[in-house]
């Protein structure tokens, strides 16, 4: 594989595309397929044949507004259709090049589409994830080729470091620093792992990237492998994502055939392979040391750090472990430069973040926004506010280790530091909006139940503490708790937070702490209710 070969594929692909006057993109990701987009695609293909129009129908990745699926986009005019059924196919094809079918039209001139900045999702909705040629035609694998043939590994790391990219898996650790540590750690072998366990309920950014643009992850991982000196990579995917696994398998096969993965990549001496490992439904396996144990075929229990995986990881070798979205940022950074990237976002949080916007909100779906945007813009402009005339109450970020953010903090810029400051957490990017009908004590109990069942049981504070806290919250929701119970709950929060071994236990009290901080009156109301009932009984 030489640069000319990439160019040839890209030219051929573009020439082929030019033959068609119209391009119809049909979303073929899990959510839209669940609303029959596969049948819509089939019907559109047949309708185009019947009508004899110069039109190409293509399956693509997520276009963002998943709740309005199946989504169909017509290029070059950019018309978007929502809620398309197979029966609509003939009409859509007939109206190509004419005025759009207004009945199905989805206005793209709204903040939901206009306010987004796409880096990670640049190809999602544009390319067919099952065809490497389509990826190459959008400059795919060019960054890898350039890195391998014109840059040293330390130059690659320097560029990633300069971009200011921070890990998108939750904690926001500097990616450049992590790569440097792995590169410097001595070891006869090294490994690169992609964390695609995406366990936070209500988050589906990583699934979308894997299903919509799998080659971007392979290319990012291969560049990482070159930078740190690894020749083997693993993608650890949850078993709940069968379509993502399928698309990754296809992508790996195609990349190997093209010579951009496997032995002697792009004709150089660098070799890199990627294998897929399936998770098996344990949330804690998203934690890096537990994930490594799971790849080694063991129970996924975390171990104390240090030593960090960067020094002592898979089978004891130096291991780079990054999140899906972190890898997805690598190719754009290599292609467009560190300065371009670091010009986006805030001083300490560069680039964009993908969020899964769900819950009680008008526009449910996937959004990519620059860091530093305010929560209010996300919820009310992009998200379109709360449906059915209800009132906003809180937005939950950071999953089971995160917190609930009330109205008064909506104007705060979204970045790693600000979220921590107000008792929440960036997490992987789930954003769940709650309206006035949600009860915060119930929400806290819901997350505690989650942590209690997902606790791996290795350390006492988390194993016992989450169960005790759950019982107290249960008493509260049943109006059976006293002030003493609330004090005990607060003390337990403290103990579990500071003495648990891994992030699961350390973060488990956060939903309670943040709801206590902003919605304490709801807890007190439950206790008052309990007092009333008690008084009533003794009367």
């Amino acid at each position: 594989m030489m640069i000319e070969d990439l160019q040839k594929i890209s030219d051929a692909e573009r020439a082929e595309a030019q033959k068609y006057e119209h391009h119809v993109h049909v979303c073929m990701e899990t959510a839209c397929i669940a609303s029959r987009s596969d049948q819509v695609k089939q019907a559109l293909t047949e309708a185009a044949e019947r009508a004899g129009k110069p039109c190409r129908v293509k399956g693509v990745g997520c276009m963002g507004l998943c709740s309005a699926g199946p989504l169909v986009k017509v290029e070059p005019d950019g018309t978007m259709y929502k809620g398309v059924t197979p029966e609509d196919a003939d009409e859509i094809v007939q109206k190509l090049g004419d005025s759009p079918v207004s009945r199905l039209e989805c206005d793209t001139n709204v903040p939901f589409f206009q306010r987004q900045v796409k880096i990670v999702l640049e190809n999602s909705g544009e390319i067919d994830p099952e065809r490497i040629e389509d990826y190459v035609a959008r400059d795919g694998y060019l960054a890898l080729y350039t890195a391998l043939t014109t840059m040293t590994p330390s130059e690659v790391i320097a560029q990633v470091a300069k971009s200011g990219l921070r890990g998108r898996g939750g904690a926001g650790f500097s990616t450049g620093l992590k790569w440097t540590t792995v590169a410097k750690s001595p070891g006869e072998r090294k490994f690169v792992i992609c964390n695609a366990d995406e366990g936070d309920p209500g988050a589906f950014m990583d699934r979308s990237v894997l299903e919509g643009d799998p080659h971007a992850i392979l290319e990012g991982m291969t560049i990482a492998g070159y930078a740190v000196g690894a020749s083997q990579g693993y993608i650890y995917v949850r078993a709940e994502y069968p379509l993502a696994v399928e698309r990754l398998k296809i992508a790996i096969r195609q990349a190997k055939r093209l010579g951009v993965l496997g032995e002697n990549i792009c004709g150089t001496t660098f070799s890199f392979n990627v294998d897929i490992r399936l998770g098996a439904g344990a949330f804690v396996c998203g934690e890096e040391t537990a994930l490594i144990a799971s790849i080694e075929g063991r129970m996924g229990q975390p171990r104390p750090r240090p030593p960090y995986p960067a020094e002592h990881g898979l089978w004891g070798y130096p291991t780079l472990i990054n999140n899906v979205e972190s890898y997805a940022n690598i190719v754009p950074i290599m292609r467009k430069g560190a300065d371009w990237f670091s010009a986006i976002g805030t001083e300490k949080s560069k680039g964009t973040k993908v969020f899964a916007l769900t819950g009680c909100i008008e526009n449910t779906g996937l959004i990519e926004v620059p860091m530093g945007i305010s929560l209010r813009e996300i919820v009310f402009d992009i998200g379109g506010g709360i449906p059915d005339g209800k009132k906003f109450k809180a937005v939950q970020t950071g999953g089971p280790s995160g917190g609930c953010i009330p109205e008064e903090h909506l104007d705060m810029p979204v970045d790693f530091e600000s979220l921590l400051q107000i008792g929440s957490f960036m997490g992987s990017g789930g954003m769940i909006v709650m309206d006035e009908t949600s009860n915060m004590v119930d929400v806290a109990k819901y997350f505690m139940e989650f942590c209690m069942t997902e606790s791996c049981g290795k350390c006492v504070p988390c194993r016992v503490g989450t169960a005790q806290m759950y019982d107290l919250l249960d008493k509260l929701t049943k109006n059976e708790a006293t002030m003493a119970d609330l004090q005990l709950l607060e003390r337990l929060c403290d103990v579990v937070k500071y003495t648990s071994l891994c992030g699961l236990g350390q973060g488990a009290p956060n939903p309670v702490l943040s709801t206590l901080r902003y919605f304490r009156h709801e807890y007190l109301a439950r206790i008052q209710e309990a007092n009333h009932e008690a008084a009533f009984l003794t009367d």
Binding site: A31, C66, G202, I295, E296, G297, T358, G359, I432
Partner: protein, 165 residues
């Protein structure tokens, strides 16, 4: 590496064991491949029966206790046979906020099974998941391997009623 290794025979002449053996061969009978192999067993047989665990343990030279430990640690593995049909209700945050609890309650009431249980006639299993990644369609569930979204409790009960007729 020279190992005094005698390949154990599969528990029966069921053809599905060949799939399991193929996975083990692909990984060179490496003990590290335990989870991969258990995935294949579950895919082929629907659950992990004790004989299968013993066979996998012997084939990969892993103590049975470790195989059992792994099989019980991960929620995805079933140690009991599943019903002919299954409904996995998502209990992730987005679905919970949108009322997936009501779906589970409706199923519990109508068919007398709790999450993780199977009806006595083995027709139907109710399961729960922690997010199917289709939060945009909350509340979501997997009905016999296909994801369905924006569900109403009654609609799900109807589907299951057809299965259990």
């Amino acid at each position: 590496m020279l190992r005094n290794y005698k390949k154990p025979a599969p528990p029966s002449d069921d053809k599905r064991w060949r799939l399991v053996e193929a996975t083990m061969r692909r990984h060179g009978h490496d003990p590290n491949a335990l989870i991969e192999v258990l995935h294949t067993v579950q895919e082929s047989f629907g659950y992990l029966e004790e004989e299968a665990l013993q066979f996998v343990a012997a084939s990969l030279s892993v103590p049975l206790s470790r195989v059992y430990g792994v099989a019980t640690f991960y929620h995805f593995f079933n140690l009991k046979p599943q019903g002919e049909h299954s409904c996995v209700v998502c209990m992730g945050t987005a679905c919970y906020i949108k009322g997936s609890g009501a779906i589970v309650e409706a199923i519990e009431q109508e068919f007398g099974v709790k999450p993780g249980e199977t009806t006595p006639d083995n027709k139907f299993s109710l399961l729960s998941a922690r997010c199917l990644g289709s939060c945009g369609l909350a509340p979501a569930a997997v009905l016999d391997n296909s994801v369905a979204g924006k569900l109403e409790p009654q609609q799900v009960v109807e589907r299951i009623r057809e299965w259990t007729k």
